[in-house]
Symmetry: C2
Subunit: 224 residues, 2 copies
């Protein structure tokens, strides 16, 4: 793909109003944030009011797959053509300035806008669900069968194109003002790390099924 | 406060449509999730479209304080009376079922609905900003002066009453179906922990200001 095609579109709502230098326009930055994330927050207008729900997600190339119950009002709104706004945000550090005003967080944040497409093709539905399981634990879905017809009938799968998106990244020390450094008030950043723990087997397992490598290998590792 | 007053209201949109047994109606559960969280995702309708933005927040009693730049479109919408939906969600474990369909996450999630009130009283503005800094690092704001008039003029502070809210918690092993346990496919949960790292001092500090105890003591500790 040529360079222009790998750039993110600029629209009125993806243009950053503050700190435009924190913006990223390379599609690779968007993909990296999505690939590093675990949950997304999906907004839609439901019965005239904003609604935000956390969801897992999966990415396949230039498409974000969302799924959930047919009772989920954000997904039924999406199925019926409502606009969506999806935020995926990783917090890396707290930014502890020597003034209250300049307190912040260091983050990598993606925001995707658009209307989803209801996935009706069964193979694509299953691919979307597999992508979501693999987003949780890489390699997970290869150990699992496709859902049953009944399970698929209870599920809405939405494909959201990664077309209109903005990416914002804050890194580094506080943006203190010159005068703030005249007094001995400490400033700096405090990192936050996410680490996988030891897996716990489901007590309903009938036999002592070994924990597979794709799960056991995660213990002690950072989120990504 | 009597028991009824400490319960969360039930409205059409706070009633859980799926897994109602995961709902919590005690206000203490709402407060615990807010106190344990770090970021919230704030939804509003901006120019007719849904918008979701990550923000820090602070809680004082039954009020959630949000703040940010006067250029933030969700905050200007809130200032102008728009409805908000705020999600605070902590993920504790991945739920790795032995079927694709039953994959999930164990989470504690709060959703708050309502219209915010623009805070115009300077003392309340500063209290809201201090609550947000203390939400990041308890004790932080006591080391810092109030913002300047100019800084406050560049900031919108919104007070959102904790009146209409829903709380949802998922815990425990996967909800596998009986037949899923006939085959030796592993199922269980994988914990995810968040831990503070070692603080890094701002290189712009002119003198070797000691890292204060309220920051130094966090290194190596879990998020909350």
């Amino acid at each position: 793909m040529d360079e222009a095609a790998r750039s993110l579109s600029a629209t009125g709502r993806t243009r950053l109003r503050r700190f435009p230098e924190r913006g990223r326009t390379d599609r690779a930055d968007l993909e990296a944030i999505l690939d590093d994330g675990l949950m997304c927050f999906v907004g839609a207008v439901v019965e005239g009011s904003p609604r935000v729900v956390p969801m897992v997600y999966g990415r396949i190339n230039d498409t974000l797959y969302l799924h959930g119950s047919v009772a989920n009002q954000v997904l039924t709104a999406a199925r019926d053509g409502a606009e969506l706004c999806v935020s995926v945000t990783d917090v890396d550090e707290l930014v502890l300035a020597n003034s209250l005003f300049h307190h912040s967080v260091n983050f990598r944040s993606a925001m995707i806008y658009g209307r989803g497409r209801l996935v009706t093709d069964q193979r694509e539905q299953v691919a979307g669900l597999r992508a979501a399981a693999d987003q949780l634990v890489p390699g997970r879905s290869a150990t699992l069968d496709a859902p049953t017809r009944k399970q698929l009938a209870a599920t809405i799968v939405i494909a959201l194109p990664l077309e209109e998106a903005s990416v914002k990244v804050r890194q580094g020390p506080p943006n203190g003002e010159a005068g703030d450094y005249d007094r001995p008030i400490w400033a700096g950043v405090l990192p936050l790390t996410q680490t996988w723990g030891e897996p716990l087997s489901d007590p309903k397992l009938r036999t002592a099924t070994a924990i597979p490598d794709h799960v056991a290998d995660m213990a002690g590792r950072p989120l990504r």
